[in-house]
Subunit: 164 residues, 2 copies
DNA sequence: CTTCACATGTAAGCCGTTACATGATTCG
DNA sequence: CGAATCATGTAACGGCTTACATGTGAAG
């Protein structure tokens, strides 16, 4: 119980966690090693599958995680996105790249919204699932709301630009 | 005209561009050098101030920038934020760290919203300013809308959590 | 028994940071 | 002329990526 192999950690960064944080296996394996060295997790090899290494959190690791969770977040992240960066360099209101960028961004956002909706349906089928993973539920719903908001805003801008 | 020194580029990444992209002077100076090597910009030293190096975009540089602007953005950025990451690890709906994280996040978002409002007032005093920097105006307004949306959403969650 | 998927690992490089260092200008 | 500020630059390092490399298990 509570044991996990590197491959599964990697998978989580493509699904669960992957919606808001990315990491590849090439980063994960060395990190696991460091965490073993630091005593945050311990490793055990199974007898029936020599290639797999089972990792498990230690008391020290739990403490470290808990301390980290108790620390307040003091800064907002910077929103580095190419969409904003490109728009920044376009001065002219009638530059036709503006509607192009917007419509492309809308394509991406709608795909994202659809994806997030699927995630919600898949992960949170009933109230029990929500109550037992409430933090995860919150950030997923927040992502959905944010994406909807952006779509709505961009569509309004799009409409205004067409009216000329 | 069109000439700028490294110090001023650095300053832009603290103000104008800094709202959605960060870079320190230690990154900028080497980059300027590379861009000179690549022929994207050219450098000239002024007679009256030996320490200043004036950079200016070349035709090649303009072409490169233009090509880049014409490329479609094909992926949304990942929203790496500590707020989401921490919430992800909190399973229990009644964990008191949830309202703590939310209220702290609201503090940060309101500060941000206020800052963005000031930027808007300062940079876009009249319609001419808007029309001559329309892309910049759009992303600023988008940031404001996004921040407002997040505040609203979090406040609703906060209210719902209090009702128990 | 060989092929393919699984599981782990390493290497090189990019982009960004903080900290450190240096020279030029300005101003009291 | 000494101190503060301006302007530039370097060093060390951290986190992340892509590409490369290796070994093991399962399945035809």
């Amino acid at each position: 119980m509570g044991k996990i192999i590197g491959r599964e950690v990697t998978a989580e960064f493509s699904t669960e966690i992957g919606d808001f944080w990315k990491a590849s296996h090439s980063q994960i394996y060395p990190e696991l090693r460091r965490m073993v060295n630091d005593g945050w997790i311990k490793v055990s090899t199974s007898s029936d599958n020599a290639k797999e290494k089972y990792y498990e959190i230690t008391a020290t690791g739990k403490k470290t995680l808990d301390d980290w969770l108790n620390q307040l977040v003091t800064e907002l992240p910077v929103h580095e996105d190419l969409f904003s960066l490109k728009l920044f360099f376009i001065k002219d209101m009638n530059d036709k790249r503006i509607p192009e960028l917007i419509s492309q961004q809308l394509v991406l956002l709608k795909k994202e919204l659809n994806y997030l909706g699927c995630r919600r349906q898949k992960l949170f089928t009933n109230d029990t699932m929500i109550q037992n993973n409430y933090g995860h539920y919150l950030i997923l719903m927040r992502a959905i709301s944010r994406t909807q908001g952006q779509i709505q805003w961009l569509e309004e801008v799009q409409k205004q630009l067409e009216e000329k």
